[in-house]
């Protein structure tokens, strides 16, 4: 990645240009303290209130146990809300930073001149892409730290559910079936896939938003048009993703219900099937969930590559 270096002419120029931007500088300097401060105050207030309220009526050790899921649940909800807000702001910032990259050069009629240099289009393109993303290291750091904190909190919450709500009530035969018949494997696979998906989101979203910004930049004629198109595109992508995921989840849920209860199935293809065993149901449902998570992750990566390819292809025709 020799184009992501300060000595690269395009990367160095774009980086220096952004360092002089006062607003961007203030944003970079302020976002990490803002994320830490907001999360600390919100967590201290909400979790503290929950714990004190539970302690006020607790009289046995088991009453104290109920504090764990409540406090962790509220903490997860708080961090999720803050992540959503901070992530939305970071998304807008990334698109706004990326949109003028090519459209700005086209508008100022310097794109043709840049293409006459000895630098290849790939070098120019990725140097600009990397320069804009580099300026957003501070927001990314804040989001990654917040994501790590929420990940550990979720894992603790899952540990509580497993230890005190699942394993606590399992009989000897349940244990045997769980270990000997490998019933622990499908949920573990699903957990690993969704953990990878969840943890990678700050970086993937940054790359995805950057790619959307570059596509808008390559297709728009002016910086203003590019920023508007980029933001509209990001909003459209968000809405499309929500609707698509909701539809797929509903469809998969419907199919699973049809398959697991054939006597009540509305589709003829399922009503004639035999009822699947518990083993088959466990493995099928968990593997479906795992596959869905993996598909989500790979789709995001594929989208980034596709959009960057589309932007570069369009950039190749500019000024030709």
């Amino acid at each position: 990645m020799h184009w992501a270096h300060a000595e690269h002419p395009v990367y160095g120029l774009e980086t220096r240009r952004r360092v002089q931007n006062r607003t961007l500088g203030l944003l970079q300097l302020g976002c990490v303290p803002a994320i830490f401060g907001t999360t600390a105050v919100a967590l201290a207030g909400i979790v503290g209130a929950t714990v004190l309220q539970q302690l006020s009526w607790a009289s046995t050790w088991y009453d104290l146990e109920s504090i764990v899921p409540l406090a962790l649940g509220w903490a997860i909800a708080t961090m999720m809300v803050i992540q959503l807000g901070a992530g939305a702001m970071a998304n807008i910032l990334v698109v706004a930073q990326m949109a003028p990259m090519i459209s700005g050069e086209v508008e100022l009629q310097s794109w043709g001149l840049l293409r006459t240099t000895t630098l290849s289009l790939r070098e120019i393109f990725f140097a600009k892409y990397a320069a804009a993303l580099t300026q957003l290291r501070a927001p990314l750091l804040g989001l990654v730290i917040l994501r790590a904190a929420s990940t550990f909190t979720i894992m603790l919450f899952l540990a509580y559910l497993l230890l005190r709500q699942t394993f606590y009530y399992m009989s000897q035969s349940d244990w045997q079936r769980f270990w000997v018949r490998w019933e622990w494997l499908p949920p573990l696979l699903a957990f690993v896939v969704y953990l990878m998906f969840y943890v990678s989101q700050p970086v993937l979203q940054l790359l995805l938003n950057g790619a959307i910004g570059m596509v808008a930049s390559a297709y728009a004629r002016t910086r203003g048009q590019a920023i508007a198109a980029g933001l509209v595109g990001r909003l459209a992508a968000w809405v499309t993703v929500i609707i698509t995921n909701a539809a797929i989840m509903f469809f998969l849920g419907f199919l699973i219900t049809q398959w697991t209860s054939p006597s009540y199935a509305s589709l003829d293809a399922y009503s004639i099937m035999a009822t699947p065993s518990e083993f088959e149901q466990t493995w099928s449902i968990w593997l479906t969930i795992t596959g869905y998570g993996l598909a989500l992750l790979l789709t995001q990566v594929g989208l980034v590559i596709m959009l960057l390819g589309l932007a570069m292809r369009r950039a190749r025709t500019l000024g030709a």
Binding site: W61, E65, V68, A71
Partner: protein, 342 residues
């Protein structure tokens, strides 16, 4: 004809020196003014909410008791919240000031941090006064609870506990002898720790404008880490204890009776030991960390200064910026900022 001196236009820009002096004066006014402002805000809020909540509903029989209880409760809540906000704010100010002091070769760092603590003494004192107010309100409530003034029957739960456990002598001694001094003096220790933390964070800054951000990020990050540590530590502790003592349900009932039915009451000595231990741990951590962080900062600044000196002596392309970023020898640039800055 003698030359008339040129009149200075009123729209001419002020000299940097006069702007600096004006900033220093403003900061001094703010520092001195924060004490009366804090107390004024506290009295205003107590007066306002005390009045609002002191009007008893029609079904209340003993109006005097209701008004006393309302006034005491409102005062306590407002003072607790105000001292919490003020403590937090002083911590941020100390971290920022500590970060700004983190420059030069590190030889003047201790003196700079002392100046920071001196400058923040008055804001910290306002926090102490708010905490003193909390103690006074509890004392006033105790007077009403232990005596029959106004023929009132005001009996808050906290004071019922205190009166029931008046034989809890060791705990009372620990409360008054250890916890109370820490409650009143703790803001100074916290301010000291925050300044040292800000200084260490500021030593990583490459430019002067980054120091504030790094100092605030360090202080707020420490608070964030403390909240997470308390939450995670508590959850893990409860899970570990319950997993060891009661891993599997024995019957169909939720409570398997493996743990004591009720939470045990601590003896006087145990409660006192727990309180003293907690206070000593907190205070010791704050003092110890302040010393450690100051030492680490000084080491870092010395290394940065030596690297900068080496770059100045043998400049390579791109390294002159590091040398000009503020890491100049003491007495040339950074250390004169002690007297110049507000």
């Amino acid at each position: 004809m003698s030359d008339q001196p040129a009149s200075v236009s009123s729209s001419a820009p002020r000299a940097p020196e006069s702007r600096g002096k004006s900033r220093i004066r403003t900061r001094r006014l703010l520092r001195i003014g924060c004490l009366p402002v804090t107390l004024g805000v506290a009295f205003l809020l107590i007066g306002l909410f005390g009045f609002l909540f002191s009007i008893p509903p029609t079904y209340v029989r003993d109006r005097a008791e209701y008004q006393i209880a309302a006034f005491v409760s409102v005062s306590l809540i407002i003072l607790l919240l105000l001292q919490l906000a003020a403590t937090w704010l002083v911590g941020l100010l100390a971290a920022n000031a500590g970060a700004q002091a983190s420059k030069g070769s590190g030889q003047m760092l201790v003196r700079r941090l002392r100046v920071v603590r001196q400058r923040l003494a008055i804001p910290t004192l306002s926090v102490v006064l708010l905490r003193l107010g909390v103690v006074l309100v509890i004392t006033v409530a105790s007077v009403f609870a232990y005596t029959n003034l106004l023929s009132s029957t005001y009996r808050p739960e906290f004071l019922e506990w205190l009166r029931r456990d008046s034989g809890n002598l060791y705990f009372l001694i620990a409360l008054l002898g250890v916890a109370l001094p820490y409650w009143l003096g703790g803001p100074f220790l916290r301010m000291r720790f925050s300044a040292a933390l800000g200084a260490l964070a500021g030593s990583w800054a490459k430019r002067a404008d980054e120091r504030t951000s790094y100092g605030l990020a360090a202080r707020l990050g420490a608070g964030f880490a403390a909240v997470l540590a308390a939450m995670w530590g508590g959850a893990i502790g409860v899970l570990v204890v319950l997993s060891i003592v009661d891993p599997i349900s024995r019957g169909s009932y939720y409570y398997s009776n493996r743990l004591p039915a009720d939470l045990p009451a601590l003896s006087s000595g145990a409660a006192a030991a727990l309180l003293i231990g907690s206070v000593v741990l907190l205070a010791g951590t704050q003092v110890g960390l302040s010393i450690l962080l100051t030492s680490l900062t000084r080491t870092r600044l010395q290394r940065k200064y030596q690297r900068a000196q080496k770059n100045l002596a043998d400049p390579l392309p791109g390294t002159s910026e590091e040398a000009a970023s503020g890491d100049t020898p003491d007495g040339v640039h950074g250390d004169t900022a002690i007297s110049a800055s507000g």
